[in-house]
């Protein structure tokens, strides 16, 4: 019956803050659907019998199921459907790359625009919270088993929530002074308001999960100590985190930040409110951000909001190869960010006091495809030029943080320092120790970390149920 519905190939636009206004504030850019808009968008869904979209979701959300509830006007019911498989819908609705996952596979995408699954997910999650309808799901009776979760980011929160629902005792150990991981220190307020992260963390703790902050696993205590002191299993979700630099001359001049440092100062430490908050942040007038991913977009748009006059994205390939979400690139363009594509830095120049005063770059062209399948950028001889900048933010990715692996006996890592773990179960080389998220895959997305967390929670549950009580 649903199949006979007339196809509506145009998606309902989402209201956004005006670019001129939002370039100067940290408020959320996308404002979210109203009830009417959500219903109109939901009505476009054909409710396919064999939904392709679900296969594109790392946590297998029942997408036609929750959209069907929206069509019926049961918005809270829609949120509950999502929460059966995804504990953090308000976050995923905002930061998932839906265009590469569920929406990419939507049948409507063949002829027009895919159903805006992410925006609808966000809508029901926000609706549920605004109507104070968030319910604490029933917990299975206590199993008496204890699990230590390392890192309160997307992977850790997901594992913790799932295991708590299954009746296991869960404690999360977080190195920073706030829970959320990259959701707190990395993704800026204008893309993911922190009250939403707090709401989702509160939901996880309401399931009975204990949260210990300012606890650096590998330093304060080790994984082996956990296993020897009553924990039956340990999940490592400590994230990537060691920022890469370009290894070019001048990279340690004052005024060169890693994106991690720049964003942490602004997001976690609230340096944009210095001196009301203690942590300062240096703001250049002409800022270059090197890189083309989501972290680069976040850095560019943060620099703009902190008052930089000119903010330029420097990326060595072309726009088509940029790993950032299309929506975020468009947002950045609308806000007035300049893009210097096919451009690669070769050195950073400093003044006598050791401050950045320019960045020498070379123009690039695309050659034959490399191992990633993307065309390899090749420098054009003689095309060197100097960019007039006084601040450089390096957003070219990050490596594995060694603190946990280096202090855990019998834990295998690969040549880049990432923990070797089965992608489906999180099983590592050490019994009782599981891993998932960026510390296994290298820097990836929130939802992939959550997907890994979800699968691993199942495997840990099976392991714990098979394990005899000590």
């Amino acid at each position: 019956m649903a199949e006979k519905k007339k196809l509506n190939l145009k998606r309902e636009p989402i209201p956004r803050q005006d670019p001129h206004l939002r370039a100067h504030n940290f408020d959320e850019v996308a404002l979210g659907y109203s009830v009417d808009q959500a219903k109109r968008e939901a009505d476009r869904c054909l409710g396919c019998k064999k939904p392709r979209c679900v296969a594109g979701c790392p946590v297998e959300v029942d997408i036609p199921g929750f959209i069907g509830r929206i069509q019926e006007g049961d918005f809270i019911g829609g949120a509950r459907v999502i929460k059966e498989t995804n504990s953090l819908p308000a976050i995923c609705g905002r930061v998932c790359p839906q265009e590469d996952q569920c929406e990419k596979l939507c049948i409507l995408a063949k002829k027009g625009a895919a159903v805006a699954i992410g925006r609808l997910e966000r809508f029901v999650a926000d609706y549920e919270a605004q109507h104070q309808a968030v319910e604490i799901p029933p917990r299975a009776p206590s199993t008496g088993k204890k699990v230590a979760v390392v890192g309160a980011g997307p992977a850790g929160l997901t594992v913790a929530g799932d295991l708590a629902k299954l009746g296991h005792g869960v404690t999360i150990f977080e190195a920073l002074h706030e829970p959320g991981g990259v959701l707190i220190y990395g993704i800026p307020e204008f893309r993911l308001p922190k009250v939403i992260v707090k709401r989702e963390v509160d939901y996880i703790t309401s399931l009975g999960v204990e949260l210990k902050l300012s606890f650096v696993v590998g330093q304060t205590q080790t994984v082996d100590e956990f296993l020897n002191s009553g924990y039956d299993a340990v999940f490592l979700g400590n994230g990537a985190g060691l920022p890469y630099f370009m290894n070019i001359p001048g990279e340690n001049y004052n005024g060169v930040y890693s994106a991690n440092e720049f964003l942490t100062r602004s997001n976690l430490m609230k340096a944009f409110q210095f001196p009301e908050y203690d942590t300062p942040i240096k703001m250049g007038r002409r800022v270059a951000v090197v890189g083309g991913g989501n972290v680069a977009m976040d850095s560019l748009r943060t620099a703009l909001r902190l008052g930089a006059e000119k903010v330029t994205c420097v990326y060595r390939r072309s726009r088509a190869e940029m790993p950032a979400r299309e929506e975020e690139i468009e947002n950045a363009e609308e806000e007035g960010i300049e893009f210097k594509l096919l451009t690669n830095p070769i050195s950073i120049q400093g003044n006598e006091q050791g401050w950045v005063k320019g960045m020498e770059c070379v123009r690039m062209e695309l050659g034959s495809p490399d191992e990633s399948g993307r065309r390899r950028p090749v420098p054009i001889k003689g095309s060197e030029f100097v960019m007039d900048v006084d601040q450089v933010i390096v957003a070219i990715g990050q490596g594995a943080n060694p603190l946990v692996a280096a202090t855990t006996s019998g834990l295998e890592t690969n040549k880049w320092g990432y923990i070797v773990a089965d992608p489906l179960t999180g099983v590592t080389s050490k019994e009782g120790v599981y891993a998932g998220g960026d510390i296994v895959t290298g820097a990836a997305t929130v939802i992939l970390a959550m997907g890994a967390g979800r699968n691993t929670a199942r495997a840990i549950d099976v392991y714990l149920r098979g394990k005899r009580s000590a």
């Binding site: 304060t220 205590q221 985190g241 004052n254 440092e261 603190l403």
Partner: protein, 286 residues
């Protein structure tokens, strides 16, 4: 949610002035007290809006569950820390962070401390002594009032020399003057450990380089997360970028680019000044 996930409350159980700008704190932090080794540090935050500052652990009492911090009041945060009282609590204490000092029986070890560095070098001298080394300590300060932990350092050293820049106590001059004498006149020194202001560590390294004596320094760069995530603390060692928080804080002093370190330490001087002015205005308004 447990704010201080590793222990009760971070209470200051003892606080005492060692000099007009240096205070000693004993802070309740049982897990860190048990775990910490010489050379490691903690990150401290004073309140919800506080910055994260690294402070070296000077000593610990695993039974009593306390760590000892010796803090020079150089900026707004350390000044405000100095206004706390016994019984007050630090908002966050994170650690122990960084790699411990490599302690073994090297033979003759000279421990050089400058200013508040005398508190940092003390646990290292203590551990070196316990490992069977002959420990010669050289501790210095600008003036007599600023000299800290003289007795503590003396107790763990076979020989102790004191210098003050103004000659108000001990030998008139810099720690490097005394070190030059030890290196020139005494038997062969196997290792020098130097901890203090960057300029002092640089001078020590310039000197020991001539004698080809391995020299370990502990760097005090600016940090944010202090777990390897941000790179604020990066320095160049042997031409390579290193993170003080996870690769250090101790490095081969002969490989460290001290000029770069000093430039990076000056990065936030205007903001530090501004924070001090805000603090003074608040103090006046009270």
């Amino acid at each position: 949610m447990e704010r201080n996930g590793h222990g009760p409350l971070n209470e200051i159980v003892l606080m005492r002035s060692l000099s007009p700008e240096i205070k000693l704190y004993k802070v309740k932090s049982p897990l860190i007290a048990k775990k910490r080794k010489a050379g490691q540090f903690v990150v401290v935050r004073l309140d919800e809006r506080g910055e994260r500052i690294p402070l070296t652990i000077a000593d610990s009492d695993p039974q009593g569950g306390t760590i000892t911090l010796v803090v020079q009041e150089v900026g707004a945060t350390t000044k405000r820390m100095g206004m706390l009282r016994e019984g007050d609590k630090l908002w966050d204490v994170v650690g122990p962070l960084g790699k411990p000092t490599e302690i073994e029986n090297f033979g003759r070890v000279v421990c050089v401390g400058g200013g508040v560095g005398n508190a940092v070098v003390y646990p290292i001298a203590q551990a070196m002594k316990a490992a069977g080394n002959r420990v010669i300590s050289i501790i210095g300060a600008r003036t007599k009032d600023l000299l800290v932990l003289e007795e503590e350092n003396r107790a763990v050293s076979d020989e102790l020399f004191v210098t003050t820049d103004d000659g108000s106590y001990g030998r008139h001059g810099f720690v490097t003057d005394e070190l030059a004498k030890v290196l020139q006149d005494g038997p062969r020194v196997d290792l020098v450990v130097a901890i203090g202001p960057a300029i002092m560590m640089k001078a020590v390294c310039d000197l020991t380089k001539n004698y080809h004596i391995p020299t370990v320094v502990s760097l005090n760069s600016i940090m944010v997360d202090a777990t390897g995530m941000c790179g604020a603390c990066r320095v160049e060692v042997g031409g390579k970028t290193k993170f003080v928080c996870v690769d250090g804080p101790e490095f081969d002093g002969h490989q460290v680019d001290f000029d770069l370190l000093m430039a990076r330490l000056r990065m936030y001087l205007p903001e530090e000044q501004q924070a001090m002015e805000v603090l003074e205005q608040k103090a006046e308004a009270r």
